[in-house]
Subunit: 147 residues, 2 copies
């Protein structure tokens, strides 16, 4: 059986959000939260526009998903995000007890892995889904900003 | 010279915020952000009311302070918070490059220290200011919730 909805499908939705961030002059990171193959929340980085370090894509998606579900725990949900979560976002995901996190590009400097942030024991995490596409978008952004 | 504004003075303001949280049935944690002896932001835990794990006192104070300053970096600022920050809040404070963090009660289970969260190298941190008052308020809250 061919499944129409797989990790690549949803990561493309997150990449679309990252492109919106790019167009707004924000570091291009996007995220969606999915439950039972349905996107219930979207977010993209807005730290510049909102002048707020807490306005990462994941944080906005977590708030939106909780709002949609009417509860603060994201049990049964998967977060797709185009860049490995930072300490803050991984810390928020810890509290949310989310089932699964899928990220695209790694962040070897400020990612939760390098920083040693702890995820909730109930949460599984995978990286590398559409990694090149996400990394290319980030590279284009920083190249453009330098020139 | 007697300084009217010291850490105890501002921690009392944070405790006042924690009491507002208590009255609303929220885990009683409060925070204020101060620049040049002036409180520019306040916040108290609203995770239950907002159904949102990201609604910690510190996160709201960070957003409010950035809004007040019109910039996302909290240079020159001090955060006073009644409980040791968690991974999420310490991660947000990392991005903010805040000068100083002062907390009251320690959180030996979920605090940034126990969880190994990294602060920004520019940030200094002190704990224990009005520790008993903050811990008592938390104890009263959990006693009340159990009964």
């Amino acid at each position: 059986m061919i499944l129409p909805y797989d990790d690549t499908y949803f990561m493309k939705k997150a990449l679309q959000e990252a492109e919106y961030a790019f167009e707004r002059g924000e570091i291009p990171v996007g995220a969606v939260i999915v439950i039972q193959d349905r996107v219930i929340a979207r977010g993209h980085n807005l730290t510049e526009q909102l002048n707020d370090v807490t306005a990462h894509a994941e944080m906005q998606a977590i708030t939106a998903a909780s709002n949609f579900l009417g509860g603060k725990y994201l049990k049964g949900c998967t977060l797709y995000v185009t860049l490995e979560p930072c300490q803050m976002c991984a810390g928020a995901l810890y509290w949310s007890q989310i089932d699964k996190i899928v990220f695209a590009a790694s962040d070897t400097k400020r990612g939760y892995g390098a920083m040693g942030t702890q995820l909730h024991p109930k949460t599984t995490i995978t990286g590398g889904v559409l990694e090149n596409e996400a990394a290319d978008l980030l590279r284009r952004f920083f190249d453009k900003r330098r020139n």
